[in-house]
Amino acid sequence: MTFLARHRIVLPVVSLAVLLAATFYMQPRAMSYFGLNLLFNLAVPIALATIAQMMIIMVNDIDLSLGAFVSLTACVTATFLQDAPLIGALIMLSLILSYAALGALIHAFDLPAIVVTLGMSFVWGGLALFILPSPGGSSPEWLRALMTVKPPFAPMAVVAAIIIALVTHLLIMRSGIGTVLRGVGGNARSVGRAGWSLIRLKALAYGLAGLFGVLAGMTLVGLTTAADANIAMRYTLLSIAGVILGGGEFIGGKVSPTGAVIGALTLTLAASFLSFMRLSSDWQIGAQGAILILVLTARLIFRQGGRT
């Protein structure tokens, strides 16, 4: 019975392992402490954004504003959080709260999340331009130090990925409230009947997404040392792809935080792999898409095989 459940995580792990092996073969230099960090450090903010997206997908919605939101939080990090940490923290808090409010709003008026978040992406984008009209700002020292820390045994990127996966796994898969949140995606009506306030649960899911969006923006600035109003625009689609690649599904509350982190790593690695292959940029987007389709097809075949 747990066959399928175990299955869901096996495929993302295998995809990552295969891709990693191929990358090591192509570029043996990557097989080192330093190499792994270079390969994966930019995956850390993507992994956090993917987790944020997963929170939304978990309750059967989708967030098209995530890239703009992470850009905004990156801009706030590079400006306010650096110059006036208290105000910066307050802004971040209010951003998280506005995400939660958005979730409540979407539920209360039964709005399509896809439309609301698409609209919000312009709001976040506008705010980001307002805060940081031209690229710049700088990373708070402690954040830069955190993102360039050199832990023993494994590089920062790997340690961070493991920590993110572990924490979110505990939060979403193991904790009681995480279970109820997944239940909202599985069968919202039955959760509501059991006496839960759906509007609060939705707000909580969106609030968590906001929190991880903020973390994504902060880590991104920690890596790049500066921001730009468009810095994370591609995170919207990357995060959706990451969730799906990690074994999540668009509806039904079937998500896997560990899978999502692995999905984010896989996507990052896929781009590097194609670059190592010297594939012309004209073909790269197509090839990235092909990798995605390949993995999803494999998943479908495995799933159907598991069923009969």
Binding site: R29, L38, P135, L223, T224, A226, D228, N230, Q288
Partner: protein, 341 residues
Amino acid sequence: MNISRMLLGAAGIAMTAGLAHADAHSGDTSEMRIALSNNYAGNSWRQAMLQTWKESTAQAVADGVVAAADAYTTSENQATEQAAQIQNMILQGYDAIVLNAASPTALNGAVKEACDAGVIVVSFDGIVTEPCAYRIAVDFAQMGREQVEYLATRLADGGNLLEIRGLAGVFVDDEISKGIHEGVDNNDQFEIVGSVHGDWAQDVAQKAVAGILPSLPEVVGVVTQGGDGYGTAQAFEAAGRDTPLIVLGNRQDELQWWAEQRDANGYETLSLSIAPGVASLAFWVAQQVLAGEEVPQDLTVPFLKITQADLDEALASTPEGSVANVSYFLEDAQQVIADAE
């Protein structure tokens, strides 16, 4: 080569001649590899840039100056993607990275990683602010100022100007526009009566200008950002108004139109822009750094100016749909380095 000399001016020629006999590379770089990290390839300028890179570096590799000079372009014009690309280049063991950056700041983390790994980073056109990198910057504001200065020499009485801007929110647009406004402040016989965004594209510029023309008084000159001059001219013609003095931006269609106008009615103007060949300049600068030369962190790219006298030659050497170009050579790089010192 002719154009190259021409734009460097008489003083430059003298210096170049002197340097040409100098040792081409004091340190041996024949085992070293240089990569080009490019963020965008979707317009004629970038295509020409990549083409020049390919030609110049192929020659350099054949001559044994460097072992390899590979070009990479990110599939999406995104800073995070380019940061990953730079990190990959560090892994691939390149000795130097020549960089046309998607963002002046968002790549700083990756550039720092490269510097820390001992990789030389030379940024050009789209430069980065990370102090450890070399910058071959375009003085865009100067480009704006020069346009107005030129107009001042031609139109002593002054008059109304129309400003065509680039893509809103982009640094280059802000800079050129700033320069233009400074120029107008210094030459108070001119007044900017209208400003539209042409997005550096002829069709956009034509539409935008056609839209604003009916509301404008007589316009004597148009200041542009390149890629928008031909569209502007078309809009004036369609509106049945006299063609003002339009400063052009080296695009082939602009030069073609200029030549036609010149033959028909003696039209005279100036065209200036950055040659896509600046990539080859950056290549040679990187090679010089690798060779152990003392190179200042901040260098300035010369403009490629085309005057009435050079028009036919420039037009002949510019393929259709492209932009007037020039390849830079080692001597040019040494000249630019010397100028900066």
